[in-house]
Symmetry: C2
DNA sequence: GAAATAGTGTCTCTTAGACACTATTTC
DNA sequence: GAAATAGTGTCTAAGAGACACTATTTC
């Protein structure tokens, strides 16, 4: 039987914590342990006996004081690209955080995804892979909902989808599709945002077995 | 600087090689190195300086004499589940092979996915994750085409999609959608399959920039 | 009142699926 | 001819997007 005690391993678990700030996605970085001038994703050495998911969740909690609302493994990164740990392998996770509850602990800072400071090449690849994972899961998992607080307006939700998809959506169509999917229910609260008519608040509350008889889709181009 | 020479690592690269045999998916297994009574996915110890993809492709080539037509990382598996190597971590890949060219080397055997012999729990999890990855990528990557030989009939293609989706598709709709996607082109060959009218052979040949303005999809159910 | 935002009704055009048909082979 | 498979034309119903409208707020 192998040793299962808790010792440092030769690989790391990294987490790409993502939130939405002012109509753009942001990533949480901290000062790199090795070189305090450089920034880094939160990461830790894997401990034997601890699952990757647990390690990633722990990193998230350490950075934010609470666990991300959604977490998923991206991939293992083991090419020769540099990483602050100097290990050869890192397992990367993406974690989503609603911005309202996302107050980073000291030493952690949100950076807009379009304007990150220099980070190690391996972690740069993780951030890029994280955005691809989020986009590809967008219609299969409640990504947008996990970036929003527990109650939100339909305009909030639509803006989040527009941000994640990178394109404008049609308001009436968006609401029709949402209604057909039985994913949200109205609360009896309304939010007034300064000017304009107040909007009703909704909560994520997936109700029905989706019927889900769509045809085939050929949404690819590359060999 | 770390050592980058080629030495055995403390983790493995495993590959779930998949093909389609007689209307069901099949996985390639070999006798386990440790216990010749048990079966196992092809795997190898990771070598420093060699990328995961290269290691997985090499495993595939070793088993089949040629590289899989499509390969993608599934995930790193690092829970406590048992693996023939007794390492704590394995990086799993899924590789697709057209059945016509898939003649396994000695010691390797195709098993129908619905009736696998006992394999280690970690590798069992890899096989299950592989099917999920294939299904979720089905409309974003040419999964079905990579399981078919270089030329195929439209009925072949539809049957492959039906197998991967686990449901019947409408013939006319399928062909209309395929035509709109500009993914195949006809050859001047026809195949007679015994009784019935011969079918024209097509080849995968993605042509156009997809226009790709679909609306939002809420195809999920779980929180 | 104007401006801004929320929310809805209706039209049209596209498309998925149903149905039915024609076409070409083996038996 | 019957049976089997390939391939297509047409109708219909559902859905996406455009457009225009109503509703409710702040200024």
């Amino acid at each position: 039987m192998r040793e299962r005690s808790s010792r440092a391993s030769s690989f790391t678990v990294d987490v790409v914590l993502v939130t939405a700030m002012r109509n753009e996605l942001a990533v949480l970085l901290t000062r790199s342990a090795g070189d305090r001038e450089r920034w880094s994703l939160p990461w830790r050495f894997a401990q034997s006996g601890e699952s990757f998911d647990a390690a990633a969740a722990k990193s998230g909690e350490e950075a934010l004081g609470e666990q991300p609302s959604w977490i998923e493994q991206i991939a293992a990164f083991g090419d020769g690209r540099r990483h602050p740990s100097d290990t050869e392998v890192s397992v990367a996770f993406v974690g989503l955080v609603p911005h309202e509850t996302a107050s980073p602990r000291t030493g952690y800072t949100w950076f807009p995804m379009s304007d990150l400071p220099p980070i190690s090449p391996r972690q740069r690849a993780m951030v890029e892979a994280a955005t691809r994972v989020m986009q590809s899961r967008l219609d299969q998992a409640p990504i947008a909902f996990r970036l929003l607080p527990s109650t939100f307006t339909l305009s909030d939700l639509q803006q989040m989808y527009e941000l994640l998809l990178g394109k404008r959506l049609h308001k009436a169509s968006f609401r029709r599709a949402l209604q057909a999917a039985w994913l949200v229910e109205p609360t009896d609260e309304w939010r007034s945002e300064g000017r304009g008519r107040p909007a009703q608040l909704f909560r994520y509350s997936p109700k029905k077995k989706r019927r889900l008889h769509r045809g085939v889709r050929f949404d690819f181009l590359y060999p």
